[in-house]
Protein backbone atom coordinates (compact mmCIF):
# COMPACT_ATOMS: atom_id res chain seq x y z
CA UNK A 1 0.00 0.00 0.00
CA UNK A 2 2.57 2.57 -1.09
CA UNK A 3 0.35 4.79 -3.25
CA UNK A 4 -0.31 7.52 -0.63
CA UNK A 5 3.44 7.79 -0.04
CA UNK A 6 4.14 8.06 -3.77
CA UNK A 7 1.32 10.60 -4.24
CA UNK A 8 2.78 12.65 -1.40
CA UNK A 9 6.21 12.53 -3.06
CA UNK A 10 4.81 13.63 -6.42
CA UNK A 11 3.06 16.58 -4.78
CA UNK A 12 6.33 17.43 -3.01
CA UNK A 13 8.18 17.38 -6.33
CA UNK A 14 5.57 19.55 -8.05
CA UNK A 15 5.44 22.20 -5.36
CA UNK A 16 9.17 22.10 -4.54
CA UNK A 17 10.68 25.59 -4.39
CA UNK A 18 13.52 26.72 -6.60
CA UNK A 19 16.59 27.81 -4.60
CA UNK A 20 16.89 31.43 -5.73
CA UNK A 21 20.56 31.91 -4.76
CA UNK A 22 21.58 28.60 -6.32
CA UNK A 23 19.85 29.29 -9.65
CA UNK A 24 21.21 32.85 -9.77
CA UNK A 25 24.79 31.65 -9.22
CA UNK A 26 24.45 28.66 -11.58
CA UNK A 27 23.02 30.84 -14.37
CA UNK A 28 25.78 33.38 -13.67
CA UNK A 29 28.48 30.73 -14.14
CA UNK A 30 26.82 29.47 -17.34
CA UNK A 31 26.37 32.93 -18.92
CA UNK A 32 29.89 33.91 -17.91
CA UNK A 33 31.40 30.85 -19.56
CA UNK A 34 29.18 31.27 -22.63
CA UNK A 35 30.24 34.87 -23.29
CA UNK A 36 33.89 34.05 -22.57
CA UNK A 37 33.82 31.17 -25.07
CA UNK A 38 31.78 33.10 -27.66
CA UNK A 39 34.48 35.78 -27.67
CA UNK A 40 37.43 33.37 -27.50
CA UNK A 41 36.14 31.26 -30.42
CA UNK A 42 36.14 34.34 -32.68
CA UNK A 43 39.66 35.28 -31.57
CA UNK A 44 40.98 31.80 -32.30
CA UNK A 45 39.69 31.82 -35.89
CA UNK A 46 42.08 33.00 -38.56
CA UNK A 47 41.03 36.20 -40.33
CA UNK A 48 42.83 38.22 -43.04
CA UNK A 49 45.12 40.99 -41.82
CA UNK A 50 43.38 44.33 -41.07
CA UNK A 51 40.02 42.54 -41.19
CA UNK A 52 37.72 43.38 -38.24
CA UNK A 53 37.25 40.50 -35.79
CA UNK A 54 33.70 39.89 -34.61
CA UNK A 55 32.10 43.22 -35.59
CA UNK A 56 28.63 41.95 -34.69
CA UNK A 57 29.54 40.56 -31.27
CA UNK A 58 31.43 43.80 -30.64
CA UNK A 59 28.08 45.60 -30.85
CA UNK A 60 27.46 44.23 -27.33
CA UNK A 61 29.71 47.07 -26.16
CA UNK A 62 26.70 49.35 -26.65
CA UNK A 63 25.08 47.57 -23.72
CA UNK A 64 28.21 46.35 -21.88
CA UNK A 65 30.69 49.25 -21.55
CA UNK A 66 34.31 48.14 -21.86
CA UNK A 67 33.53 44.93 -23.70
CA UNK A 68 35.34 44.16 -26.97
CA UNK A 69 36.25 41.12 -29.03
CA UNK A 70 39.80 40.86 -27.66
CA UNK A 71 41.56 38.76 -25.01
CA UNK A 72 41.05 41.37 -22.28
CA UNK A 73 37.47 41.58 -23.61
CA UNK A 74 36.93 37.88 -22.82
CA UNK A 75 37.45 38.65 -19.12
CA UNK A 76 35.22 41.73 -19.24
CA UNK A 77 32.60 39.64 -21.06
CA UNK A 78 32.88 36.87 -18.46
CA UNK A 79 32.29 39.43 -15.71
CA UNK A 80 29.22 40.90 -17.44
CA UNK A 81 27.97 37.41 -18.34
CA UNK A 82 28.10 36.44 -14.68
CA UNK A 83 26.20 39.56 -13.67
CA UNK A 84 23.52 39.19 -16.38
CA UNK A 85 23.19 35.45 -15.65
CA UNK A 86 22.78 36.10 -11.93
CA UNK A 87 20.01 38.61 -12.60
CA UNK A 88 18.29 36.26 -15.10
CA UNK A 89 18.53 33.26 -12.75
CA UNK A 90 17.32 35.30 -9.79
CA UNK A 91 14.31 36.68 -11.69
CA UNK A 92 13.43 33.25 -13.14
CA UNK A 93 13.57 31.52 -9.73
CA UNK A 94 11.61 34.26 -7.94
CA UNK A 95 8.98 34.29 -10.69
CA UNK A 96 8.72 30.47 -10.64
CA UNK A 97 8.22 30.40 -6.86
CA UNK A 98 5.80 33.33 -6.98
CA UNK A 99 3.73 31.74 -9.76
CA UNK A 100 3.39 28.60 -7.64
CA UNK A 101 2.34 30.60 -4.56
CA UNK A 102 -0.28 32.49 -6.60
CA UNK A 103 -1.61 29.28 -8.19
CA UNK A 104 -1.75 27.66 -4.76
CA UNK A 105 -3.59 30.63 -3.32
CA UNK A 106 -6.17 30.44 -6.10
CA UNK A 107 -6.58 26.68 -5.54
CA UNK A 108 -6.97 27.06 -1.77
CA UNK A 109 -9.55 29.85 -2.19
CA UNK A 110 -11.48 27.76 -4.73
CA UNK A 111 -11.37 24.74 -2.41
CA UNK A 112 -12.59 26.84 0.53
CA UNK A 113 -15.45 28.23 -1.57
CA UNK A 114 -16.42 24.71 -2.65
CA UNK A 115 -16.35 23.52 0.97
CA UNK A 116 -18.72 26.34 1.95
Amino acid sequence: MNRPVKDHEILSAVFAKMDVIALALAAGVLFSLALFLATAVLLLQSVPENYPVGPHLSALADYLPGYSVSWPGTLVGAFYGFFVGCVAGFVAAVYWNLAHYVALGVMLISAAELAD
Binding site: K6, I10, A13, D19, A26, L30, A103
Partner: protein
Protein backbone atom coordinates in the same frame (compact mmCIF):
# COMPACT_ATOMS: atom_id res chain seq x y z
CA UNK B 1 -13.53 -2.73 -23.36
CA UNK B 2 -10.97 -2.36 -26.14
CA UNK B 3 -7.30 -3.18 -25.89
CA UNK B 4 -6.36 0.49 -25.67
CA UNK B 5 -8.70 1.09 -22.73
CA UNK B 6 -7.42 -2.08 -21.03
CA UNK B 7 -3.90 -0.76 -21.46
CA UNK B 8 -4.86 2.63 -20.01
CA UNK B 9 -6.41 1.05 -16.93
CA UNK B 10 -3.42 -1.24 -16.49
CA UNK B 11 -1.03 1.71 -16.79
CA UNK B 12 -2.88 4.01 -14.44
CA UNK B 13 -0.78 2.75 -11.54
CA UNK B 14 2.84 1.89 -12.26
CA UNK B 15 5.16 1.00 -9.35
CA UNK B 16 2.69 2.55 -6.96
CA UNK B 17 2.71 5.86 -8.86
CA UNK B 18 -0.69 7.35 -9.66
CA UNK B 19 -0.15 8.27 -13.30
CA UNK B 20 -3.19 10.53 -13.42
CA UNK B 21 -1.75 12.62 -10.60
CA UNK B 22 1.72 12.53 -12.19
CA UNK B 23 0.44 13.78 -15.55
CA UNK B 24 -1.67 16.47 -13.90
CA UNK B 25 1.44 17.54 -11.95
CA UNK B 26 3.53 17.75 -15.13
CA UNK B 27 0.80 19.74 -16.92
CA UNK B 28 0.59 22.16 -13.98
CA UNK B 29 4.33 22.80 -13.86
CA UNK B 30 4.50 23.06 -17.66
CA UNK B 31 1.91 25.84 -17.47
CA UNK B 32 3.86 27.55 -14.68
CA UNK B 33 7.10 27.41 -16.69
CA UNK B 34 5.30 28.59 -19.82
CA UNK B 35 3.99 31.62 -17.95
CA UNK B 36 7.42 32.27 -16.39
CA UNK B 37 9.36 32.01 -19.68
CA UNK B 38 6.77 33.93 -21.68
CA UNK B 39 6.50 36.81 -19.22
CA UNK B 40 10.26 37.23 -18.81
CA UNK B 41 10.82 37.19 -22.59
CA UNK B 42 8.01 39.70 -23.14
CA UNK B 43 9.45 42.09 -20.55
CA UNK B 44 12.97 41.75 -22.03
CA UNK B 45 11.80 42.52 -25.60
CA UNK B 46 9.66 45.43 -24.43
CA UNK B 47 12.52 47.10 -22.54
CA UNK B 48 15.17 46.19 -25.15
CA UNK B 49 13.05 47.96 -27.79
CA UNK B 50 12.70 51.09 -25.64
CA UNK B 51 16.40 50.99 -24.70
CA UNK B 52 17.32 50.80 -28.39
CA UNK B 53 15.08 53.77 -29.19
CA UNK B 54 16.50 55.81 -26.30
CA UNK B 55 20.09 54.99 -27.29
CA UNK B 56 19.96 55.45 -31.08
CA UNK B 57 16.82 57.43 -31.76
CA UNK B 58 15.98 57.43 -35.47
CA UNK B 59 18.87 55.03 -36.21
CA UNK B 60 17.59 52.36 -33.84
CA UNK B 61 16.54 48.94 -35.04
CA UNK B 62 19.54 47.88 -37.13
CA UNK B 63 19.79 44.53 -35.37
CA UNK B 64 16.68 44.37 -33.17
CA UNK B 65 14.51 45.23 -36.18
CA UNK B 66 15.50 41.90 -37.76
CA UNK B 67 13.11 40.26 -35.31
CA UNK B 68 10.29 41.36 -37.64
CA UNK B 69 11.20 38.34 -39.77
CA UNK B 70 9.78 36.14 -37.01
CA UNK B 71 7.51 38.64 -35.21
CA UNK B 72 4.92 39.86 -37.77
CA UNK B 73 4.16 43.56 -37.29
CA UNK B 74 7.17 44.20 -35.02
CA UNK B 75 9.26 47.34 -35.40
CA UNK B 76 11.58 49.28 -33.09
CA UNK B 77 8.92 51.78 -32.00
CA UNK B 78 6.61 52.32 -29.02
CA UNK B 79 3.77 50.39 -30.65
CA UNK B 80 6.22 47.77 -31.93
CA UNK B 81 7.44 47.14 -28.37
CA UNK B 82 3.96 45.84 -27.44
CA UNK B 83 3.75 43.68 -30.55
CA UNK B 84 7.25 42.33 -29.83
CA UNK B 85 6.26 41.61 -26.23
CA UNK B 86 3.22 39.70 -27.46
CA UNK B 87 5.21 37.52 -29.86
CA UNK B 88 8.00 36.98 -27.32
CA UNK B 89 5.37 35.80 -24.82
CA UNK B 90 3.91 33.40 -27.39
CA UNK B 91 7.24 31.96 -28.58
CA UNK B 92 9.01 31.78 -25.22
CA UNK B 93 5.86 30.59 -23.45
CA UNK B 94 5.39 27.80 -25.98
CA UNK B 95 9.09 26.91 -25.85
CA UNK B 96 9.07 26.75 -22.04
CA UNK B 97 5.76 24.86 -21.89
CA UNK B 98 6.91 22.24 -24.39
CA UNK B 99 10.32 21.98 -22.68
CA UNK B 100 8.72 21.14 -19.34
CA UNK B 101 6.30 18.66 -20.94
CA UNK B 102 9.32 16.90 -22.44
CA UNK B 103 11.31 17.22 -19.20
CA UNK B 104 8.45 15.69 -17.23
CA UNK B 105 8.05 12.96 -19.84
CA UNK B 106 11.76 12.05 -19.60
CA UNK B 107 11.71 12.10 -15.78
CA UNK B 108 8.51 10.04 -15.72
CA UNK B 109 7.58 8.26 -12.52
CA UNK B 110 11.07 8.94 -11.09
CA UNK B 111 10.17 12.65 -10.81
CA UNK B 112 10.14 12.72 -7.00
CA UNK B 113 13.34 10.75 -6.46
CA UNK B 114 15.19 12.87 -9.04
CA UNK B 115 13.88 16.32 -8.15
CA UNK B 116 13.64 16.36 -4.37
CA UNK B 117 16.71 17.54 -2.47
CA UNK B 118 15.57 15.83 0.74
CA UNK B 119 12.75 13.73 2.09
CA UNK B 120 9.32 15.24 1.34
CA UNK B 121 8.04 17.59 4.04
CA UNK B 122 4.90 16.75 6.00
CA UNK B 123 3.04 19.46 4.06
CA UNK B 124 4.40 19.70 0.48
CA UNK B 125 2.00 22.51 -0.39
CA UNK B 126 2.48 24.96 2.46
CA UNK B 127 6.03 23.94 3.43
CA UNK B 128 7.63 22.95 0.13
CA UNK B 129 10.97 21.14 -0.22
CA UNK B 130 13.81 22.51 -2.31
CA UNK B 131 13.94 21.39 -5.92
CA UNK B 132 16.93 19.72 -7.57
CA UNK B 133 17.55 19.71 -11.32
CA UNK B 134 18.22 16.59 -13.37
CA UNK B 135 20.86 17.66 -15.88
CA UNK B 136 20.44 14.90 -18.48
CA UNK B 137 16.64 15.24 -18.66
CA UNK B 138 16.87 19.03 -18.67
CA UNK B 139 19.50 18.92 -21.43
CA UNK B 140 17.42 16.53 -23.52
CA UNK B 141 14.28 18.63 -23.16
CA UNK B 142 15.70 22.14 -23.66
CA UNK B 143 18.31 20.92 -26.15
CA UNK B 144 15.65 19.25 -28.31
CA UNK B 145 13.46 22.35 -28.25
CA UNK B 146 16.38 24.67 -29.04
CA UNK B 147 17.56 22.40 -31.87
CA UNK B 148 14.07 22.23 -33.36
CA UNK B 149 13.73 25.99 -32.92
CA UNK B 150 16.89 26.65 -34.94
CA UNK B 151 15.85 24.16 -37.61
CA UNK B 152 12.39 25.71 -38.06
CA UNK B 153 13.76 29.29 -37.96
CA UNK B 154 16.26 28.42 -40.69
CA UNK B 155 13.57 26.64 -42.70
CA UNK B 156 11.38 29.77 -42.44
CA UNK B 157 14.21 31.90 -43.87
CA UNK B 158 14.56 29.43 -46.76
CA UNK B 159 10.80 29.21 -47.39
CA UNK B 160 10.31 32.98 -47.51
CA UNK B 161 13.14 33.19 -50.07
CA UNK B 162 15.56 35.34 -48.07
CA UNK B 163 18.19 32.67 -47.31
CA UNK B 164 20.87 34.35 -49.43
CA UNK B 165 20.31 37.72 -47.70
CA UNK B 166 20.33 36.27 -44.19
CA UNK B 167 23.94 37.21 -43.50
CA UNK B 168 23.40 37.63 -39.77
CA UNK B 169 21.93 34.16 -39.33
CA UNK B 170 24.79 32.72 -41.37
CA UNK B 171 27.24 34.04 -38.73
CA UNK B 172 26.16 31.13 -36.51
CA UNK B 173 28.57 29.04 -38.58
CA UNK B 174 31.32 30.65 -36.49
CA UNK B 175 30.04 28.63 -33.54
CA UNK B 176 28.24 25.65 -35.08
CA UNK B 177 30.44 24.01 -37.74
CA UNK B 178 28.45 23.06 -40.84
CA UNK B 179 25.60 25.50 -40.23
CA UNK B 180 24.27 27.47 -43.19
CA UNK B 181 20.96 29.08 -44.07
CA UNK B 182 19.64 26.04 -45.95
CA UNK B 183 17.54 23.01 -45.07
CA UNK B 184 20.58 20.77 -44.60
CA UNK B 185 22.45 23.52 -42.77
CA UNK B 186 19.45 23.99 -40.48
CA UNK B 187 19.46 20.28 -39.67
CA UNK B 188 23.20 20.28 -38.92
CA UNK B 189 22.81 23.50 -36.92
CA UNK B 190 19.91 22.06 -34.96
CA UNK B 191 21.97 19.01 -34.01
CA UNK B 192 24.95 21.18 -33.10
CA UNK B 193 22.84 23.48 -30.95
CA UNK B 194 21.28 20.46 -29.24
CA UNK B 195 24.77 19.32 -28.18
CA UNK B 196 25.77 22.78 -26.89
CA UNK B 197 22.53 23.26 -24.96
CA UNK B 198 22.73 19.73 -23.53
CA UNK B 199 26.23 20.46 -22.19
CA UNK B 200 25.08 23.85 -20.88
CA UNK B 201 22.14 22.28 -19.04
CA UNK B 202 24.41 19.64 -17.49
CA UNK B 203 26.67 22.41 -16.20
CA UNK B 204 23.74 24.48 -14.93
CA UNK B 205 22.23 21.50 -13.09
CA UNK B 206 25.58 20.41 -11.62
CA UNK B 207 26.36 23.87 -10.20
CA UNK B 208 22.78 24.41 -9.00
CA UNK B 209 22.58 21.01 -7.27
CA UNK B 210 26.00 21.47 -5.65
CA UNK B 211 24.96 24.83 -4.18
CA UNK B 212 21.60 23.39 -3.03
CA UNK B 213 23.43 20.53 -1.27
CA UNK B 214 25.81 22.98 0.41
CA UNK B 215 23.06 25.35 1.53
CA UNK B 216 20.52 22.76 2.69
CA UNK B 217 22.65 20.10 4.38
Amino acid sequence: MGNYQNMQVANSNVDGVNLKLLHAAIRFNALMLGLTGGTIAAVVIYFATHASMARWGADSGNYLGLLAVFFPGYSVSSGGAWIGAFWAFVYAGLFSWLSYRLYGRVLGSRISELLLSAAPTDNPVLRPSIMRLHGASLGLAIGAMAGLGLFFSTTWLVVRGTAAESVHAALLANYIPGYSVSLLGGLVGGLGLFVFVFIGCQLLAAVYNKIVETRHK
